[in-house]
Every structure is written in C-alpha cells, then in structure tokens.
Symmetry: D2
Subunit: 318 residues, 4 copies
Amino acid sequence: MNEYSVYTDLALEAREIYAQENGQDHPGIIVKEDKYEHSQVTRVQLTTEEAARNLNKKIGNYITIESKEIRHNSKLIEKEISQIIAQEIKNLIKVNENATILIVGLGNWNSTPDSLGPKVIKHIFVTRHLQDYVPLEFKHKLRPTCAIAPGVLGITGMETGEIIKGIVERIKPELVLAIDALAARNLERLGTTIQIADTGIHPGSGLGSKRIGLTKETLGIPVIALGVPTVVHAGTIAYDTVEELLDNLTEVNTNQAFNDLQISSIIEKILAPYQDNLMVTPKEIDRLIDDMSIIIANGINSALHPKLDLEEVMKYFY
Amino acid sequence: MNEYSVYTDLALEAREIYAQENGQDHPGIIVKEDKYEHSQVTRVQLTTEEAARNLNKKIGNYITIESKEIRHNSKLIEKEISQIIAQEIKNLIKVNENATILIVGLGNWNSTPDSLGPKVIKHIFVTRHLQDYVPLEFKHKLRPTCAIAPGVLGITGMETGEIIKGIVERIKPELVLAIDALAARNLERLGTTIQIADTGIHPGSGLGSKRIGLTKETLGIPVIALGVPTVVHAGTIAYDTVEELLDNLTEVNTNQAFNDLQISSIIEKILAPYQDNLMVTPKEIDRLIDDMSIIIANGINSALHPKLDLEEVMKYFY
Amino acid sequence: MNEYSVYTDLALEAREIYAQENGQDHPGIIVKEDKYEHSQVTRVQLTTEEAARNLNKKIGNYITIESKEIRHNSKLIEKEISQIIAQEIKNLIKVNENATILIVGLGNWNSTPDSLGPKVIKHIFVTRHLQDYVPLEFKHKLRPTCAIAPGVLGITGMETGEIIKGIVERIKPELVLAIDALAARNLERLGTTIQIADTGIHPGSGLGSKRIGLTKETLGIPVIALGVPTVVHAGTIAYDTVEELLDNLTEVNTNQAFNDLQISSIIEKILAPYQDNLMVTPKEIDRLIDDMSIIIANGINSALHPKLDLEEVMKYFY
Amino acid sequence: MNEYSVYTDLALEAREIYAQENGQDHPGIIVKEDKYEHSQVTRVQLTTEEAARNLNKKIGNYITIESKEIRHNSKLIEKEISQIIAQEIKNLIKVNENATILIVGLGNWNSTPDSLGPKVIKHIFVTRHLQDYVPLEFKHKLRPTCAIAPGVLGITGMETGEIIKGIVERIKPELVLAIDALAARNLERLGTTIQIADTGIHPGSGLGSKRIGLTKETLGIPVIALGVPTVVHAGTIAYDTVEELLDNLTEVNTNQAFNDLQISSIIEKILAPYQDNLMVTPKEIDRLIDDMSIIIANGINSALHPKLDLEEVMKYFY
C-alpha cells in the first residue's frame, strides 16, 4: 500500500482498499447494506482501534449513500436521496428534540470544488433567533438551529476549529453538524456519493488543510460530519496509471523492479511543483455542487425540523 | 427634535443637529478640524455623559473624514483617503505593535448597501496563520492579523455580538477593528464620509438590527469602529419634506398647527407597511461600495503593518 | 398630476391614479379580475392610443398578479403563483410550440434591487443547445429555449437593446421574454406584485436607464415583459408626504397656495444631490428577490415546456 | 506523439513538444526572446501552413509572457507584467486609435478555473457609452471600449461565437480582444504564463467546449486572444506517468512493448467515466485567478487608453 493509494476521506473506499489488499474485510468492521430504488446505503462500523488504524479512520459509524443516477438531475431521485439523508441524520442525532444544533459549512466559497459547505449553509433553515417570537403552541415544534460558514485559514488567518470552538462555547449548541467537500479515491464517486459519520471532522481531512479537528474531543459535544467527494488527488491518477501499466507488463516480471519508494518518486516528479495541492475535478463540478447542496440542505432541514409544518408556522414570522 | 430627525450613525451629524436646534455646540464636546487637499477631517470628542446622551452617542472619539471628490474615482484622492484612514487608525490603536488584531466585517453580503463590511474583509491582509512560517528576521515586523465576516442574524440565527465574543475568547486578539455600513441623516454623505470611532459598535447602530454591541464592555478588549454611510432612512426624506414644506407656508402660522406627534403619524402612514425597514440609497451604490471597500482595506492594511515591506516578505510565503 | 405621482412601471397603478384623479376609469381601458385562493389577477387592456397616452403606457395587455401573502414564504402560495404565471405566459405566447424563445434577464447583478432579471436567468431551463442530441421521440416535446443576462450600460458600455437586437438577429428566436425589476408607486407592492405584459420593455422603464426598448418594433418579434417592483422612487415618498400634509391642513385653504411647480422644487431640494437616482427599498429586499426569482423561473419553465416530462427526458442528457 | 501529449493551448508548448520529438525547431517557425527583470517574453511566429498543422495551431503570432515569480504576489512584478501585456497588445492592434474595441470575457463564472475571462471583464474600463458626454477636448483621447462576459453554452443555450457575432454585427467594433482560461501541457505554467495571439479563439480551445471560433473569418474583424493556463488535462498527468515509468524500465526493452494505442487505452480506463472532462488544478487556483485578472485588466486598460490621463478625465464623468 502506497500513500497515493489510500488518499480517501471515505471509509467505504478505505474498506475496499483494505479488502483488496488482504483478500477479506477487516475483522473489526461491521457492514450492512440497504437497497433503495435509485440508491444504496452502506453502513460501515469501525469497532476496534486496530480496524480504525488500519483503515486510517476513527472508530465510529460511517453511512455512505451512493447513487450514480443522481447525475441524471431527476427530482424523484433527488427527493429519495434527501429523504435518506434526513433519516440517517435523525438516526445519528442522540440529543433532545429541542436541543440547539449548529450547522457548520466548511470550505472555501471562492474555490468551486471546496464550496459545498458554504453553499449548503445558504439553504439551511435557521430558527434559533426566532425562538422569542414563536407563539407558544409552536414552541415545542421548532428546534433551534443556527448556521455559519466561517471560511478557510487562508481567508481568516484562524483555524476553522478555533473559530467553531469559540462559537460553540458561547452559543452552547448540543450538537454540531459539519458539511465538507471530500477527496475520494475513485473518480466515479465525485458528486454521486454522500458520507455521514458520527466521528466528526479530523485534522487533514476534506479539501482544506485543517490542523484542528471538529470532534467530540475538541468541541465537547457530538459532531456529525456530512461530506461529498468533489475531487480526487492528482497523485491518485498517477498511481493508478502506474498500477495499470505494471499490470500490463506481463512478459517480464517488471513489477518487482519497482518498489513503492520508486513509484512515489516518479509520481512526485510528475506532480512538481504542486504535489499534494493538485486536485482532479470534472468540468461540470459547479453544477454537481449546486445540485448536491440543495439535496443535502433539504435532507438536513427535514431531519432537524421533523415536526414542523412549515406552511403553518411561516404565518407567524413574516 | 423628532425621532426621524436624529436617525444618524454619525457623531458629526448628531453634533450639527444639536447645534442647529440649540444655536450652539454642546458644551461637552471638543471639535478639531484638519484640511487636506481633497478632504477634511473633523475630530469630535464627546467628553461628558450629558453630551453623549444629548447626541445619542457614547463618550469617546469620533473622527470623520469627508471628501465629496471621492466620487470622482481618482487614484490620487483615493490614496489620500487611504493614508488618512491609516494615520487615524494608528492614532487610535493603543496596543503593542505585535498584538493580534481581529478585523470584523459586519453586514449582509446579499444586500448591496449592507455589504461594505464583508467586502472590506476580502481585501484585508491576514497574517496570523503565517506566524509559524515567518523567518526570524521578519517576526517583529509582521503583526498578527485575522479577519471574519460572520453574516447577519437572519443568515446565522446567532447575534453577531455572540459570534465575535466567542471567537475573541478563543483567539484572544488584543483589539477588534469592526467595519460596518451606516445610516446617515444627509444624502450627500452616502459614500463620501468615513467615521472612525474608539467607542465600538452599539446595539441598533448600522444597517443590521444588532441587539448586542461590540464594545470594550462586551468583548473585554478595545473596539475601533469604522463605518461609511450607505443609506438614509426613508423616514428622514419624509421628515425633511415636511420641514421644507412648513418653512414655505409663510402666510399663515400653520407651523404651529402641527406638533411632532402629528408629523410622526403622517410619516408612519406614508411608510407603512415597512416603517423603519425602508432604506433610501442611490442607484450607483454598488460602485460606491466597491470603491470604498478598497480604499478602506488599503488604509487598514497600511495601518496594521506599517513596518512591513510587502515585496520583501512575500518572497517567503509563496 | 405631478411627475412624482406617476412614477410607476405598473399599468395597474397608472390606472388607479387616473381613476382617482378623474373619478372614473379611463374609457379606453378594459379591466377583468380573477380571484384565487392566495392571490388575485387583474387584466388591464389599454385599447386606445388616448388611454395609452393618458396612462403613460403602451397599447396592449397588462396582467397583474398580486399576493400580499407571498411574503409568508409558503410553498403552497409560491406554487399557486408559479402556476398562474405559467398560465398567463402561455396565454400570451402566440408562436408555435416548437419556436425558439429567448429569455432575457435585464438589470445589474451587482445591485440587489436590480438583480431580479439575472437571478431568474440562473434558474431557467435552457434547451436550445440540446436539440441535436435529443432522441427523435422527444424532439417534438422539447421547445428550444436560450437565455442571457447581458448586464447594464455601465458594465458593458453597450445599450442592452443593442446587445439583444444583435443576438436576436443572429439566433433568430421567434419570441423574447424579458424579466426586469420595476419601480412601483406604492410601497406595498414591493415583492408582492408581478406584471406580465405583451407590450415589451420601453425606454426608461425598469430600474436601469434604458435608452432603447425591447419591443416588437425594435426587435421584429413579439416581446413579453415580466416584472416585479423592487423599489419606489424617493421622490414618491416625498410627494406622498406633501399630499398627506396638505390634506391635514384643513383650517386654511393652503392647498391652493402650492402649485405643482412649487412642490417639485421642494422635492428636488430634498433629494439633491441624487434626484431621480434615489431608490427606496426594504431591508429584506435580498430575500424577497431570491424567493421571487425562483417562483418566476418555475412559472416560466413550466410555461415554455408544458409537454416535457422532465424526469423522462433527463435520462438522455446526462 | 500521442493525443494526451499535445493537449495544450500554448503555441510555446506545442513548439517545445515538436522540437523534443524531432530534435529541432520546425523550419516554419520564427522565435524571438526578450528578457525582463522578473519575466521573459517569447514570440513564436508560425509562418507556414505546414508549421501550423504540425503544431496544431493557426498561422500567426503567439507572444508568451512567463514569470514564475508572479506567484510571489509582488506589486513590482505585477506592474512589470501589466506593462508588458500593454505593450504587446499595442503592438498587435492595427486599427485606428479611435476605433471601437469589444473586450470579450469567455468562460464560466461558476467554475473557478474557467472564470478568468468574466473576472477580467469586471475590471475593464468601458467608455463607449460615455462618448456623448465627453467634453470636446477629450474626444480624441478616449477610445470607445465595450465589454461582455456572455457565459457558456450550458448556461445560455447559445454558442458564444453566435452571441458575439450578433453583437459585433450590431455594435460594429473594429477589433475584438478575447480573454480565456487555457489548458497547458505543463503544471508549472498554471497561473504563471500569459499567451497573447493575433489568431483569435479557435473551436475546441480553452476550457469551454467551443464549437464556433472567434476569428477574423467568423467575425469579419481582427481578434486578439489573451489566455492564461489554469488547468492541465488529467490525461496529461496519466501520460506523463506512463512516460516516466517507461523511461525507468531500463533492463528490458519494454518501451517497445507498448504502442500509443495501448497507452491511450490504459489512460482511458483510468479516466473513466469522465475522460476529457477531467481537469487538474491547484488548490490555490482561486487566488491565482484573482491576482491574474487584475494584472491583465491593468494591462488591457493601459493598452487601450494610452493617451488617457484618468485623473483628469474622471472629473467629467462623476
């Protein structure tokens, strides 16, 4: 296994890579699958420290929603995905139904592939500031939600983890739901896969170069992370090309002529002067992200306000 | 004096209104003026609680930079204004030259007249995250700066004051510099006047409806506020019309036929159904704000990094 | 009647003003009204040149959809309005169902109140470029649509009318549907009224200062205009204040003491230095326009592609 | 030579590839180089049809400005580049100094790497609409310029070439200056290289998938094209990896074991399901494009209005 072969934020892919290399699933993981009309849901549970270490992820639950059809841009499919997102988030939320939830949109709004988080925030229904004005009969129906897209280190000069920790300590939500753009291993996953995890956001994950995570350990409250792969690292393309080529070199046993170090050195030469900072992304990424941000926001809004009859309540706010 | 006649965020206008109504300056204020080639600077110091109360402002220093020529869009004039801003900010900053400063862009980026703060933040040079990478010889030259445009209550569900207090307690800057769009009394001031004050941002000031201020009392550190009027309240237009009309009714002493209550009631009828929420703004407001945000950012960058030879230091960052 | 009293882009308001001043509807207009659950539709037809001249509009049909409840932000109400828009547009379109239609979003995306047109364009379903790829069985279902938001004179240096004429002559659509932000006479109409007219866009109408219209005369093809009031001219506020005040001056016949010229001169003094270029707009204008642009785009998409089963067709495009 | 090895919009790279493969420059090209303090300029002139065909470019002049230091973000370097751009554009413009010039920003503002053209347009000084208001003494100094960023096929449903041809026929400029984001062969060129050519924009060049070009043949007037590479095609990374790997397979003559067809098939397999639609771009692309768009706009403004003393003229416009 080479560093370029495991460059993924998806537990599902990490599991696949492990299984490929070892001929079987890691014993410390439990996997369940559900089929829906236009999509499938895979629940990967990492149960042991060893499994977590081997897959380079944290102990916890990773729900992956996959739908290649999502690129068809169909309202029916979008609705199905939104409903699954809502259901899965509801399953993960263990706090009281009146507990305040802070939704955080990570990423850089100036960079299309990294703009998923801020774009979702635009469509989130925030209600925390309305609590004082809600008629008594709605009080128990309207969960207080608040939202922020704080920007990235290069824009603010502050670690996102620091900003959110400061806000959490002041606002005192009981749960954080963080949305982020992810890097996948496999091109087919771009814009077609959604991962929801109860493990939070860890340093180095996602597209930004986070040095501080958003986790229960750092924030003191549970953190649900929702992400969509929008890029593949360029090193992955190079690595796959090497693998494919070596697989085709059948006559001589050249495969053994290359060790991982040599391959890494070849790839590094190709990717100079940018190295890790090169993203591979489809031309249509702007449309994929626009569509996905609405699907996700609908799912979140529905998960966080399940009792709310919006039509009814809206009369009181305007 | 009527509520519509004092609707201004500018201490300079509050002073003028007081002087007009009382035939003289308030005894508790000290005023100094400086003339520059294309602009003039008025320093109003409110020295007593009574003065502050009568002018509906806080005790402290209010520096007003005025330049009608600024609308000419001349680089020469813009440079002069940036330099004055830099100098006045430097005069107000009492913290150490290596102290971290947080720049806050208040306002709503979706609403042109309220977008000044977020637009200034885009041009602010942030350096706090670069501190670890700076070569030793620049360490003493590079003041740590960080910046955020948190959005408004309707977008986040959180009071801006709460968000900033949380961030301040975590990041521990020694000073906050807050930029905001203001309401003026006088149409001529839109986009031509800049107010810098050492009193912070107070509840209800600016275009957003702030319920918590950004002040030394709330944040525990000094707050410098920099604002530019971008709107006049619609009530002001109505009130001025009433005044002008009554001034023209010379034959009969009709003026006395109207008391303030009657005038307020007429204006309220005119402005229904929006009342206080109606802004008057020039069509060219987008251009005024774009220009002004660059002028202000240049002034702030120059004030906060006076020792920095940007050319020289940049070599190390890229 | 004074120039400030007729500053409206709405035929409905022009009719009201005329009726108020003359005690009856103009004989050259025909009015029909329909009530819906959350809205009402008024069809004003100007049938004579004299009516058109007296109302300062063109001969033709003006459909006005009004719904104060639209500000409640309810999906039900929004759906009703979208459906009415779709129906009314369909009634006005006299071209073949396979004829190409060009949708034009007028206005300045940098200025919130003037950004309605460009925002609608973002949500328009364009299909003209897909014609070559459509399977034969859909060919007759998919009307070719194309769309552009050309920007305003100050951004392009070109009259919008010139740009669109050039595009029309090259692309050869058979109908133009133009969306624009309007000025109303009455504050209550901001964001609550939609006007659809078969008379096109005329010089000087809307928020931009158009010198060339978009009409059948200039473009050679029918032009349907759809607009929503987003501002009231500041002069209107001033004029209304004068009227209201004079109405309250009962003791003496002061009303006659002021002629229109004097009133105009008072208002001009109030509005200096901006005059006509001052807009009155509610603080929440960004939200009103965002909501309205989706409602309108849904209506247009539904009107132009009535046969289209989007779910079905989408399979072929992605 | 393989299709993935020539995927470049830069004549300079096409020349290098040809020279590498053939051991010498193509006889039909003339090359001149100039050194500046922070940059170098290479003028490649394709003089024969054969040279044009072999390099997959058109007969004409290609000026390439290179500066790796441009990423240092230094004002000095930026000024040097702007001045070189201005000088090179002036050299290519053969029309009268009072002739109207249309600047066209190609590309998709929703996709960061493709947003260069629209971003440059934001900073272009347009004057065509001011001609009627210019005092006589400036009339000869102020060249009429106009500008548009029309959007891409997927947004408008119209070929950009069609839109621009329509506008050109109506507005009748005497020259078009088109700005576009380009694809390079070499990662080092991203954001560090500017190409100016007198050959116009050809179908299939740039990031958008143009089917109609912007050339003297299609528009009837000269077209100067200015572009900056912002992406490398993912196939290029894969191809380079293959080449590098095969170069390292020294023991056996495996190189001959692979022909171009096999390599293409391997790469296609890697890039499925996106193929040509995958872009490689650095994470910092948003900053690179923001900086570059100002540098370019300054160069263009200076080239098109060389006589203009902006300070002086501005007095008359505001």
